[in-house]
């Protein structure tokens, strides 16, 4: 009986540790779909309306950064369009108070990685190949970890350079 209690306690201890580890791990795991200040529906813009990605991500063809739109850019349409939608009202408020929209990053490349949107877009890599079917999402959701292995398998498939210093800076 005593043995059973000891075993029970040991098992309970290990279970507790395991749970704690799992819980901690879950907490650490980045949210794949972070909450955004404005619930922007990619589905409507890029899907239903068929807008181009570069209409809002202005620099994807020009710079290493794709660029995130500021409230001014949104308002160039939404001054007149869909002004009754709650999210657009939120946006208008932000704009009128002179605040910027603090978009939350979905993908964060590592600081030692050189990544150029321009190079990839100009090499005819579809945005969706890395960012997933954005036209079906509301706010953007992370679909890949963008780890080195993931990058390299595509570089290998496409015959893109696989020199270390191509990406490592």
């Amino acid at each position: 009986m005593k043995n059973l209690a000891v075993y029970g306690m040991v098992i309970a201890w290990f279970a507790a540790v395991a749970l704690a580890v799992i819980a901690f791990g879950l907490m650490q795991k980045p949210t794949l779909r972070p909450a955004q200040p404005v619930e922007f529906p990619h589905r409507i813009h890029a899907g239903d309306l068929g807008m181009q990605c570069t209409d809002c991500h202005l620099y994807a063809e020009k710079s290493i950064y794709a660029g995130l739109p500021g409230a001014e850019l949104c308002m160039s349409c939404h001054e007149a369009v869909a002004t009754d939608k709650p999210e657009v009202i939120k946006l208008t408020e932000l704009y009128q108070t002179g605040k910027s929209v603090e978009w939350v990053r979905v993908y964060q490349s590592k600081p030692h990685v050189y990544f150029s949107h321009r190079r990839h877009v100009l090499s005819n890599v579809k945005c969706q190949e890395c960012h997933g079917p954005v036209e079906l999402m509301t706010t953007a959701q992370q679909v890949t970890d963008m780890g080195m292995g993931w990058c390299v398998q595509c570089h290998r498939r496409r015959g893109a350079p696989r020199e270390c210093v191509t990406c490592h800076k």
Binding site: L58, Y59, K62, S63, I64, Y65, A66, G67, L68, P69, G70, A71, E72, L73, S100, W103, K110, P111, H112, Y114, S116, R118, R119, L122, E163, C164, V165, T166, H168, K169
Partner: protein
């Protein structure tokens, strides 16, 4: 890293940059629109793209053209502007370090006002100007005292503004002051030619140059321009090798590069100059009665007397005179600390006479353009101090200069400042004197403002804002205007803002030669090229024989033989001492001593023997009535008659290292004045040795001078007729190889470094530090041998000649580091680069141990910079942390950038398109980089130059860097004693 277009640089500039806090000033008013626009329209600025903005360096009076790389609203790199007529693309270490002043933690963040407790406290611009105005107005009665503005050397628009104010305000007295003024040259030119100004020197046309102490490559007039001319002239092949002859008392960088160097005690150069001038009169084309007058004035200055005083033989001096006469066009120059003596003007008259006799005017020096605008003299500064002491100065406004450092009697200056009721400082960065002012007004750094400067007359150079001012500062011109407003009852002219005045000034320049061009077009052109170059005005010189009267006939008073004279010297590292708060410069080894951080007292081996001391001994010396304790350093090449100490011991509040903060020799001068020019003599204070009191470790990067016969730095002898020595070609080592040969299908990057061109100035080392986010590790870690610099200048002696050699990763084909890395962090790329992958490195340090060149650097710690210095970091290069090995990458980020540009434009890379930071900054263009696969590239052609060799070829490392042997004249002399 900001990806939002909402925060573009231009938006900042539009709202705050041009005006800063100007709008908040009393009398300020809102402005409609922007008066001066940048080259790239606001809406076209894209984050993630580098923009290069042309501007003009203000770190010394030379005014080199620069281009500043801007990324995401931060200025991250300064480089020389290739189109600029002064510096031709190079930029010295001090100029590049301007970024560390821009982002200095010691920047003045807001106006400071002394409160009732006597403390300086931050206030708003309105309060500061209100207080300033009230104080100035109180004192504006009929018997009001003077208002003095003491400014650094200003030219162009700021000078025009100050000039316009002084004419309308009799109370106002404006004095510009520079520690290294060239008053003696101006005074001598005034006496000789009636032209009060300094000519421009074209070293690139010279065939022989004799320099009496002038530190051509360190600070003298326009060092980058001089270095460029030197390198260009050396490479003219006309059967008569170029020759630089240097007479000096301490070993300068110029002396180290001289073909003949003669070490003489201070004072002797006066006699040498006058004796050579006397000699050259003999068969000059001068009118007889004029020549007779000069001969009479110079009759007591014979070669024999000069030889006796200098220890240089009569034959040698005759040889120098003959060379000046025959190897033409020649050039004689005088400068440096020993020519800042009480006979300074006499020396310059002698030099003018030599240049006239050799027919050099109009060829190697001319008054077509004037170098530097006139600067006030020491005498004017002393007059100001006297007036301050007498209580006649009501207010003192100090603009971007530190008289407490630059005035030889700091105690007297401090006492005089106390007598002035209102003292105001206009400065971007705090200095050691800041605490003594009543009001401190922060001004824009030169990288934050629009301006028009004119470093050489007719060269109108632009300064433009590269970042939005991050302190609550204003343009100095705006501050001056507001101060004038407070001084005058009625609104002063120009009324309005400085920027409008500035536009007016630019418009005036347009009005000259390009009056039919629209201002906007003119402005675009100015921004694209860095300025507007007016056509030079031809000016003939006519020697006025009355100048001969200035040559003293009495016996000249020189230090007694056997005494040791204190000599403050200017070095390439700290210049005149104003750039003392810059970590990059502290960690840049002095090319002569190879010391970092330290600036000890340099003594000759003979003096060391006499004092019974060694390098690193703390010696107590008595000098100028004061006893100071300083570390001694035995520097061969120093005259036995001097104890020299570089200016610019870190004295800034930001400098972490202070051991000798108040032991400048500059503050212990004998107080002699050159009566003709009004400048103070730097020589003459005797040094008395009082004993060794201790020891200190000096942070010296290079252990010894000997190459141990390994042929690292090599020379090739060229004869008087220009024939160069033949060297056997290096034999390729053919052996069975464990590894397959590297294939380079597309590019094969290589570098050629011409040691004949390298002068060892260290600009490349600082450029590398700036480009590659290399941390400054501090003096303590340097003493432990843990410096991080990827590129170092090695200083070796080969066949008695000093050779400077930039040492960096050789990107070996057979790299010893690659084969020992257990994790493949070091490996070869298909383009011939020796790659180092930081996040793969585990820090075994095997690679560094296996590298014969000692170019791999290990991060023993995670180093930090004081914010906001991190704004300077290059976003294209990783920041390394503890435990990571790093080394030169051949600036792979630049290769990547240009490959990308070429690809977007659908073309192949052009030769010379990829320029690493070191090659770009080099004032003498000693470094060539390019693709060896492209047979027509410059680097491929020079790779097989007969002067070429690789270092440690016997190890079969097969480096990608070829060095070209330094050409040395077979009969050259001078530096073998070092």
């Amino acid at each position: 890293m900001n990806k939002k277009n909402t925060l573009s640089r231009r938006r900042f500039l539009k709202s705050t940059g041009l005006m800063g806090a100007g709008a908040m000033l009393p009398l300020g008013r809102s402005r409609a629109g922007v008066i001066l626009r940048g080259l790239i329209p606001d809406e076209e600025i894209i984050p993630g793209i580098s923009y290069w903005l042309n501007s003009t360096c203000a770190e010394c009076s030379a005014g080199c053209g620069v281009k500043v790389r801007v990324r995401e609203g931060n200025a991250v790199k300064i480089e020389g502007n290739e189109q600029h007529p002064i510096n031709h693309g190079g930029l010295c270490a001090r100029g590049q370090s301007a970024l560390q002043a821009l982002y200095s933690p010691a920047r003045i963040r807001s106006p400071l006002l002394r409160n009732n407790e006597g403390q300086l406290a931050a206030v708003s611009w309105f309060d500061a100007m209100d207080k300033l105005g009230a104080r100035l107005r109180v004192s504006s009665g009929r018997n009001a005292g003077k208002v003095a503005i003491l400014t650094r050397h200003v030219t162009g628009s700021l000078k025009a503004l100050l000039d316009s104010q002084t004419s309308s305000l009799p109370r106002l007295k404006v004095i510009s002051h520079e520690l290294t003024d060239y008053a003696a040259m101006s005074a001598a030119n005034k006496l000789c030619f009636g032209i009060e100004g300094i000519p421009t020197y074209s070293l690139d046309r010279v065939r022989s140059i004799v320099s009496f102490g002038a530190d051509l490559f360190e600070t003298w007039l326009s060092p980058v321009s001089n270095a460029y001319g030197f390198a260009e002239a050396r490479h003219v092949v006309d059967g008569m090798p170029w020759r630089l002859i240097q007479f000096e008392s301490h070993l300068s960088l110029t002396g180290a590069n001289a073909d003949e160097r003669y070490c003489c005690p201070p004072g002797a150069e006066t006699l040498i100059v006058l004796a050579i001038a006397h000699e050259m009169l003999k068969n000059s084309a001068m009118p007889p009665e004029q020549a007779e007058k000069w001969r009479r004035a110079l009759q007591s200055f014979s070669m024999e007397r000069a030889a006796r005083a200098s220890g240089v033989s009569v034959d040698t001096l005759m040889g120098v005179a003959n060379r000046l006469r025959n190897q033409t066009p020649s050039l004689a120059v005088a400068g440096g600390p020993t020519c800042r003596s009480k006979y300074g003007t006499v020396i310059q008259i002698g030099v003018n006479l030599i240049n006239i006799a050799a027919g050099n005017y109009g060829k190697t020096l001319s008054f077509e353009r004037f170098e530097h605008a006139p600067v006030g003299t020491h005498r004017q500064l002393t007059d100001l101090v006297e007036e301050m002491e007498a209580g006649r100065v009501e207010a003192l406004i100090v603009h971007d200069t530190n008289p407490e450092f630059a005035f030889p009697e700091p105690e007297r200056w401090r006492a005089a400042v106390k007598r002035v009721p209102l003292t105001v400082q206009l400065a971007p960065v705090r200095d050691s004197a800041s605490e003594s002012y009543d009001i401190i007004l922060p001004i824009h750094h030169w990288l934050e403002r629009w301006d028009l400067v004119e470093p050489r007359s007719g060269l109108h150079c632009v300064q433009q804002p590269t970042i939005a001012p991050w302190c609550d500062s204003v343009h100095p011109g705006e501050a001056f205007l507001q101060i004038m407003n407070a001084l005058m009852e009625k609104r002063p002219e120009p009324n309005g803002h400085y920027e409008e005045f500035l536009r007016g000034q630019w418009n005036k320049i347009r009005g000259g030669e390009s009056a039919n061009v629209e201002f906007d077009d003119f402005w675009q052109e100015v921004l694209a090229s860095g300025g507007y170059w007016e056509r030079p005005t031809a000016r003939n010189v006519q020697l006025d024989a009355r100048a001969a009267d200035a040559i003293p006939s009495v016996e000249l008073a020189f230090p007694e033989p056997g005494t040791i004279t204190a000599l403050p010297i200017t070095t390439i590292r700290y210049g005149d001492g104003r750039q003392t708060g810059r970590p990059w410069l502290h960690e840049m080894p002095d090319p002569i001593t190879t010391l970092v951080w330290d600036t000890p007292l340099l003594i000759s081996p003979e003096t060391a023997k006499k004092w019974k001391c060694r390098s690193g001994d703390m010696v107590r010396i008595e000098c100028g009535g004061d006893t100071i304790t300083v570390p001694a350093y035995v520097q061969p090449g120093t005259s036995d008659a001097v104890a020299a100490m570089p200016l610019g011991v870190p004295s800034n509040a930001y400098a972490q290292y202070h051991y000798a903060a108040d032991s400048h020799l500059l503050h212990r001068l004998a107080g002699h004045i050159d009566t003709s020019s009004g400048s103070i003599s730097w020589v003459g204070a005797p040094v008395e040795f009082k004993g060794v009191v201790g020891r200190v470790r000096l942070a010296r990067l290079q252990g010894h001078n000997s190459q141990k016969g390994r042929g690292i730095a090599q020379t090739t002898a060229i004869s008087e007729t220009g024939q160069s020595e033949q060297h056997p070609a290096e034999e390729a080592i053919v052996e069975a190889d464990l590894y397959p040969k590297h294939e380079h299908p597309v590019h094969d990057w290589g570098m050629v470094i011409d040691l004949s061109r390298c002068i060892g100035c260290g600009a490349c080392a600082v450029a590398c530090q700036a480009e590659n986010n290399i941390y400054v590790v501090g003096r303590k870690q340097c003493l432990n041998g843990r410096e991080l610099s990827w590129l170092r200048i090695e200083r070796f002696i080969d066949r008695g000649r000093i050779v400077f050699l930039p040492m960096l990763c050789q990107h070996c084909e057979h790299a010893p580091c690659e084969t020992v890395c257990p994790v493949y962090a070091a490996l070869h790329s298909s383009e011939g680069l020796n790659q180092q992958i930081y996040n793969r490195c585990v820090g075994t340090r095997y690679c560094a141990n296996n590298c014969p060149y000692k170019v791999r650097r290990f991060n023993w710690f995670t180093y930090k910079v004081d914010p906001p210095l991190e704004r300077q970091f290059n976003p294209d290069v990783s920041i390394r942390t503890r435990g990571i090995m790093e080394k030169c990458t051949f600036c792979v980020q630049r290769i990547r950038e240009h490959k990308e540009i070429a690809k977007v434009e659908g073309r192949a890379l052009r030769d010379g398109e990829v320029v690493p930071a070191c090659a770009q900054s080099c004032p003498t263009h000693a470094i060539t980089f390019g693709d060896l696969n492209d047979g027509t590239s410059e680097v491929a052609t020079r790779f097989s130059d007969p002067r070429g060799y690789t270092i440690f070829s016997e190890l079969n490392t097969q480096p990608s860097i070829v060095y070209l042997r330094r050409e040395c004249l077979a009969d050259g002399t001078g530096t073998e004693s070092v």
